[in-house]
């Protein structure tokens, strides 16, 4: 049961029940990703201004890990430069894979997903929103 408490942290369940920045505004670039095997369906919207992530919104449905991580991400990435955001996402993926990370502070609240590394079957749930954001940031770079 301890491992379960570690996976489903209070913060995670709170973001699941009360998602922040939920709902798309149409003011940014959107990326829609699905995981057909479990039904996760997430759209991420990034509003970028002057090289910074101004707003992050998300919409969709899925399990608690998937939906809450979109909500947590929306808070963590807001206000960061594109480069910072990319670094955070990269570190997040390392953490989910159970790899050692240098600067875990940059993950802020997203650190609560550390427990996912013990559940390989759930890594997809924890990363789908972040992958959608990563793609959007990548596009941003290419367009310059």
């Amino acid at each position: 049961m301890n491992q379960m408490q570690n996976l489903y942290r209070e913060v995670i369940m709170d973001h699941y029940s009360h998602p922040r920045n939920k709902g798309l505004t149409g003011n940014g670039k959107q990326n829609h990703l699905r995981n057909p095997s479990c039904g996760d369906d997430i759209t991420i919207e990034l509003e970028i201004k002057d090289g910074k992530v101004n707003h992050v919104h998300h919409d969709g449905h899925g399990c608690s890990i998937c939906c809450s991580s979109a909500s947590v991400m929306s808070e963590v990435l807001t206000g960061k430069t594109i480069e910072e955001a990319k670094e955070i996402i990269h570190s997040y993926f390392q953490m989910i894979k159970g790899e050692e990370i240098q600067n875990e502070d940059i993950l802020e609240e997203a650190l609560v997903y550390q427990g996912v590394a013990q559940f390989p079957a759930r890594t997809k749930c924890a990363t789908i929103a972040w992958k959608a954001a990563e793609d959007l940031l990548g596009d941003q770079h290419e367009e310059k």
Partner: protein, 404 residues
Amino acid sequence: MLDCKKIRKMFPIYQNYPDLVYLDSGATSLKPQCVLDKMNEYYTQYGVNIHRGVYRLSYQATEAYDQARQIVADFIHAHFNEIVFTKNVTEALNKICQMYQKKLKENDEIITCELEHHSSVLPWMKACEEKNMKLVYIPLNDEGRVTVDQFKKIITHQSKVLVITYVSNVMGYITPLKEMIQLAHQHHMIVIVDAAQAVSHLPIDVKDLDCDFLAFSGHKMLGPTGIGVLYGKKELLKTLDPIDYGGDMNEEVDLYHVDIKDIPFRFEAGTPMIAEAIGLKEAIHLLQSIGLDQIRQHELEILEYAKEKLSQIPNVTVYNKTSDIGILSFNVNGVHPHDAATFFDEANICLRAGHHCAQLITKWLHCIGTLRATFYIYNTKEDVDKMIEVVQEVVSFFHQFEVK
């Protein structure tokens, strides 16, 4: 009740995982040692190609492969030349769709229902899109069953094909096939049956059903992966052009012309799944020695027990209370099936979470997915007890949060 202790000894996975609670036979059954042994025997003692060889070992391999076809044919009351081996039921259903659609034209109607597995409905969805045909769904009744009455109501002069599941892989309902097939034939339709979930639970008699085509996989019936079966009435099979051309399916090749073999060989180009067919033959022997009626009785007993136990837990929704075979689809209210699945996984319980490759029925049920436990010959009431324990754990764990 079957003697599960004895039965489990036949399945080597239980020696490697004595605590395994395997409730996912609807996805694939466990594999008994005798099937593995027969395949190994082929590979180690006469593992050569069939048909082409003019030497003794090849003759032996050919014999074993032909025997497998005969055993499959007998198993479903068909003729030897009405059995086409494929890699699985999906390939069989795609193949028949591709072959038969050549006989169809614009505005023809393909009738199906929302209980279908994607393998059954998607090939026809695509065919309808390409040929401008119409896919028509038989409305399900309140319970989620397909009925003869509803089928009758939607048949028109344009209706040409009925493609329908024998047993739903989410609801466990048996389709009233015989009456539906009669009705379909009265309206000059042909009927394709997806028997993937039926074949390991019910005796199948294609002559009695009078279906035109029927398909299933070996791996859900104690057989190996990589082998499936397409049954077709011989007079119909003879009218179809093969999809695949190549080795072994032809009789004579000239510069600009090929004479193809008779059925069923014309539909099996290239080296077939020899070891898998031999494994399937052994699986059928085992099913017959246990007895399909006994198997069904066993799983229904487990199912009843599970339903009763689940009904005692508040906050659980069961979607198929009247399931006809050992399939139970349920959810813990307010908990996403994938969140629940992790708890089962932690307790070494394998069950499926999601839409089970049948999104249409999940949508019909207005849910995002379900937990599905499927019971088979090696499952016991103790397995159910372990599952129930986890269900209770899931209920109380998520109760601590204010899950919406």
